[in-house]
Symmetry: C2
Subunit: 467 residues, 2 copies
């Protein structure tokens, strides 16, 4: 996995750097350390450094950077929290990394309308801290404390999506800087609109390749009156997955239903000092009125019992629930500890739920033959699961083996009318699957959109689809 990527760097004209320096002063950096920090993400790729990093503080500054980069044909890569997983941030053609982390203001909270507007660098945890007193919350929770701009750009989701949807459903409006430095607001704050093309959802999931998201208006939700969480252990993975399928088909409005295989539970126990039973497990959370939560839990318990599920272990107190969900969110880092010094490659397929059990089972059969350890966690209510393959970073054979397993898994998911990526995005690593998933004609439409919105190919070039 350390094979260097081809060198496609375009030279950055000195005049461009000078002009940026004149605007940004010491918020333009060409230091090796800063560039190194911005030339990587959580993917297994070796770093590919940008030529310089600019720290922007508002939309107008972003527009100035875009105009300069467009004029000089310099690649421009928006950077939020650096937590992407597929090489989204790597400067494969060089250029400017545009760090938005200083754009970290919550601009407005409209509690009556259940909306908030934030600068792109605000993280999900920061937003929830700042709105706590309103009685509202923002549910989307990828594992990392990602920035809202990055989450919108990746069409992120997480454990709550089964009930609350993904960024696709929860972004109401964006402020976007176009490739040539114009500033566009994609929509108002009405809950619905039929007023023309859906610019908001064109940019959600576009990974910085169509425009630079500088502000995000999201939907908020009332904090539920009652919350309860429970874990349920199963004799087999299949029993757990079958339970979830029935729960979804019954229409039970579970807020979260997360799967962990025995290895993932073991990793989480070690990392987060928990004592969960190390068998395939589901973690549930129920939101509603006290009576509603109880009713949901009873329905779910009846279903899990039919599939060999053991008694629920409840996490009643908020601190117990927090510990449980923090442990779940740390499953990625916990998994890494199972093989000290390893690098991880993570899969992200998502399939129609009727195909989930088969897809997981066939994948496990293959993984059990692999020469490296793995864990599985999944947002199984959405048909989305992740295999964390723990690889020796110096062992090319293991990398190739993991890639073969990943290819087979993606082929399996696409054959089941699913997708190669449920929530992580394409970046560099999934580009190889786009033709297989979408076909040539759909890719041609995507490419024509890219050409229309970024005619000089300066916006995160070389990601999602080849020019």
């Amino acid at each position: 996995m350390n094979a260097p990527l081809p060198d496609l760097r375009r030279p950055v004209p000195p005049a461009c750097l000078e002009a940026l320096g004149a605007i940004f002063g010491d918020r333009l950096s060409v230091s090796a350390a800063v560039r190194e920090h911005h030339g990587r993400d959580e993917s297994p790729y070796p770093p590919m450094l940008p030529d310089a990093v600019v720290f922007a503080q508002n939309t107008d500054e972003v527009a100035q950077v875009a105009r300069l980069c467009n004029e000089h044909r310099v690649p421009l890569i928006p950077y939020g929290a650096g937590s992407s997983l597929e090489g989204h941030l790597l400067a494969i053609e060089g250029g400017i990394s545009l760090d938005l982390s200083q754009m970290n203001q919550v601009l407005s909270v409209n509690a009556e309308d259940l909306t908030a507007t934030v600068q792109a660098g605000v993280t999900r945890k920061q937003l929830n801290e700042e709105i706590r007193s309103t009685g509202l919350f923002f549910p989307i929770d990828p594992g990392a404390d990602a920035s809202l701009g990055g989450m919108a750009a990746t069409r992120a989701s997480g454990t709550n999506a089964v009930r609350y949807g993904t960024m696709r459903e929860n972004v109401m409006s964006l402020t976007v800087v176009t490739a040539d430095g114009r500033v566009v607001r994609t929509a108002g704050r009405a809950r619905k609109s039929s007023a023309g093309y859906d610019l908001t959802r064109i940019f959600v999931g576009s990974e910085g390749t169509l425009g630079i998201i500088t502000e995000v208006t999201v939907r908020l939700y009332p904090q539920p009156e009652a919350v309860s969480a429970a874990v349920c252990n199963f004799p087999s993975l299949d029993d757990a997955v079958q339970s979830v399928i029935e729960i979804i088909q019954m229409g039970v409005p579970v807020a979260r239903v997360e799967f962990m295989d025995a290895a993932a539970v073991r990793a989480v126990n070690l990392y987060s000092k928990l004592t969960l039973r190390e068998t395939p497990m589901l973690v549930f959370e129920f939101h509603g009125s006290p009576a509603g939560v109880q009713e949901q839990a009873e329905t779910v318990q009846a279903i899990t019992a039919e599939h060999g599920g053991m008694d629920f272990e409840w996490a009643e107190r908020p601190e117990d629930r927090n510990r449980l969900w923090t442990a779940r969110h740390n499953a990625y880092f916990a998994g890494l500890q199972l093989r000290p010094g390893c690098r991880a490659s993570t899969t992200d397929v998502c399939v129609p739920i009727s195909r989930l059990a088969d897809c997981v089972r066939e994948t496990v059969d293959e993984l059990d033959q692999a020469s490296f350890p793995y864990t599985i966690v999944g947002h199984v209510g959405d048909g989305n699961f992740h295999v964390l393959m723990l690889l020796d970073g110096d062992n090319e054979a293991e990398w190739q083996e993991s890639e073969t397993i990943n290819h087979n898994l993606v082929r399996r998911a696409i054959a089941a009318d699913g997708t190669c990526t449920g929530e992580h995005g394409v970046g560099l690593h999934k580009m190889q699957f786009m033709q297989q998933e979408h076909g040539d004609d759909a890719l041609a439409l995507m490419r024509s959109l890219k050409h229309a919105f970024d005619p000089n190919n300066i916006l995160n070039p070389g990601k999602i689809i080849a020019w």
Copy 2:
């Protein structure tokens, strides 16, 4: 309103008609009656006839028509049920109306995945009839029995959107024929995906201007275990609207909450032979478990009582509920009867809910000065309401007066960060508001998308945005 639109017709080359005739035989029609039927919709515009009508029966036939029209630069207007409200279907540049009503097969129902795939001409009522035995239903319900293809193309919604979302949230995938006759499937059936640009939502709401939707995969929902409906009368419009605002802010998962003003109730009583009390009224529907429905109803009753709401009148039996909702869905036609022989102009603004009461109140103040009668109905849980202005079709002054009121209403809605159209779409009639709502730079992006996807401007030309 009978002022003729400018004549922008492009001649249809005889070779194009001959080629279509060779393929379609008597499913190509140039008869005046058929063209007349396809040159109008439910908008107040006078008809603008296509040069010919083609009745397609499958995606491949649609692709053949698109290739011919693209080659000959002939406008091509997809036609579903003819129920659009803003002039979407008018052949202002002439060309071919492509009638999809014979594409009326439900292709597959995946009950386990809660999805169905239908041809574009299947109507919402037909779909619900065909899936009834599965225990599932499709919730989106514009007033008319529209086609699913048309509903996707208009980003339609209706009375259930407050709980179940709009076509934006409920279309999972589309089969689309591009301007040059390629066939694209926009997505698989996974509940979520981050695999590239969101082609599905690019076509949802594009009103036939970017591609021709030939198949639609939608989300289905389990029929709720318990359903109850009730009407609640209020002393004033303001009291009713304030109640809704609080209900939404509390997060009560009402399935429907519809507003009717006193005139709308009177119209519905006359048209549907009901005896509803003729004051401002809310109509609620609750979905859930028996206990959940009861709990929702109690919460809502407590809120409405605080705002002067009278006792709930329950429609307990399914036939009573059906009568009530059929009456609500017929509110448009009922309104027309208040002024025999009138033509109607319907508004469709949608605003953030915190601005709803002011927006409605200011609009009513203006309407009360108007020289024609009106009714108001609204999907108020979404901040969306319709004024039905009942106009003398021969009286130009009334048309101008209604247009002024509509302009003022749209200006008010946009100033409140809302939209000129919540669910009816742009068509011809709302094009005048697009610049005001989106601004020049956003419109430029929309235009570049249109140019990229339809470089010869053959797909429903002259709608949504000027070329």
